[in-house]
Amino acid sequence: MGFELKDIAEKIESGERLSKEDGLKCLKSNDLLSLGLMADSVRKRKTGDIVTFVGNHHICYSNICINSCDYCSFGRKTDDPDAFTLTLDQIRAEAIESKKGTVPEILFMGSIHPDFFLEFFKEAIKIIKSEVPEIKILAFSPVEIDHFAKQEKVSVNEILRCLKTTGLSAITGGGAEIFSQRVRKELGCENKISGDRWLEIMEAAHLEGIASNASMLYGFIETDEERIDHLIALRGLQDKTKGFTHFLPFAFAWRNLPSPAGYDDLKMLAASRLMLDNFNHIRSYWCHLGLELAQVSLLFGADDLNGLKQKGRIIHSSGAVESQFVKRERMIDVIKRARRIPRERDVLFNLID
């Protein structure tokens, strides 16, 4: 093992929490395999050999968005020729469509639409629930929750309680991007809620009994320090609420900057596994990595391979490398061939028989 990682390895072995400096050392190191070995030992301790994935169905309600974040090629203005919005009937049709496969999760997502109010979304959730009562609905991120609260002029807690009563199981970690205000400015998403606000809303959600995931967008413009600060902020909130089901780093391509290289992806996963000692699961995103590298990432701390279906156009337009659907059999085969145990899960990481 490279000398620079020795004391980190010792801390990992004794289960000690890593500091910011440790995290930076991990990201700076090019001893990829040692990082892998450390992350792999933590993964084994935490989750054993089970690798989970989720059978999910995406319903994307609209791409018309009041924000225009620079890195997003999904959002449209109302009069753009390729702008779209689903009606409640179309949402019902999608829910019925989801019954064709056995899926435990519907990811209901979209934009910050100028004309939609909470009432519409409550109705949509009710419709989905009436068609597929047993399904778990994952929908909205803190960005939408904040938006609803402003629209309705009530607290986010009230919004969250109301959505939970309607049938929402969990919210997504979207909009976290990277918390650094400097990067958010550079990304052109100042209109979006700040990192602090994102954390605040997550805390509220967790306290209301709504779980969520945590994410981070990484690429070429943030510093190593900004990445580690982001992880530490998530770790801090998780200490308080235990409400995050898992962490998911997103690689992204922005303007004409190249997408992160394989080393960067694997190092980011390993560093996340090592830093986030209070997270049970680290998810690897095959849409960005490709299924081959995603399989390899199971040795670098990941224990979840995401969903089978990735209809979401948000993902695609920020630079996915593979077709957005993988067959259940292929997913199972890929996991088995990494000599791990494939298990399907629901949105809360309950294993499904």
């Binding site: 395999l33 290289a261 992806d265 490709g290 399989q295 061939r337």
Partner: protein, 358 residues
Amino acid sequence: MDKNLIEVSDRIERGERLSEENGIKLLESSDLLSLGRLADFVRRNKAGDEVYFIANKHLYYTNVCVWRCKFCAFSRNLNDSDSYTKTIEDLILEVKNSENGLSELRITGGINPKLSFEFFENLIFSLKSAFPYLHIEAFAPTEIDFIALSSGLSVEDVLIRLKKAGLGSLAAGGAEVFSPRIRREFCPKKTSGKRWLEITKTAHQMGVCSNASLLYGLTETVEERIDHLIEVRNLQDETGGFNSFIPLPFLPENTKLFSFSGSTGFDILKMIAVSRLMLDNFKHIKFLWIYGGLKLGQTALSFGANDLGGTVIEENKGVARSAGAKNFGFTTREELIRTIKRADRIPFERGVLYQARN
């Protein structure tokens, strides 16, 4: 570390040659990270931190093939609507359109009985005359076998004449896996493994070097894979004529072998590592990035690879892309260099014989 690897690991540290049994233990282990570390250790000592690549172009003169191996998605029958055989003029034009910065042409094709020895000789001669500064790597040993058989010339004579016409080295290919059992099932008409080795040996003895490869992920056993590596290692001991070794994952998409799941990222990295560890007389282990993408290619640099192949200007229907290496057909010199540097290694643009480029 996987306890089955401890003995092998000791041998590697002492610089000892690995046996067949050692190789099998390596392939059977699921401790991929430890395999990677062993392979990385050997790579560093043997080949240093340079990572090689080449600016090359693949030319396919025909996709008509009478062998029609089951794992191939490239070949066509003569009567198929999308079969083609290019003229020498076409091929020259193709190179002219993309010659900027190239250092190598790599020319291969199907086994097309309509083509005479004169065609092959002219092809090499014309390309070499038109582009005297380009190294011409052409024809796998299997094509040489066919050219000799169909022309009535000996392998030596074929090689002498092609060399005179401008042939620089032989292309990798046709080695597949040497196991007669696998060849009977997947490519019964193809040159046997034994014959492949004979022709390669003849070429090496005449000063025509070549590359060795292994197509894996069919239904070969671990023994068959290791035996293949040992055959290659033995010939290298004898001739020293192989420039590099290239493990090729089988990609089932678009072939008739739908029931196969092919090679996954794990298999790919493991095979790179095991090749590095078994082939102690090879300096260069190549991961052709078009077979798994640049992200995986960069990762392979930690598992024993020290060559990423080429910038690869390959047409849409080349061998790799036909078989599902989609999205991965072409990269720029700049992107390769950046990828290598970001793995903390030293990019080295090479000529065919691993010399520095001028």
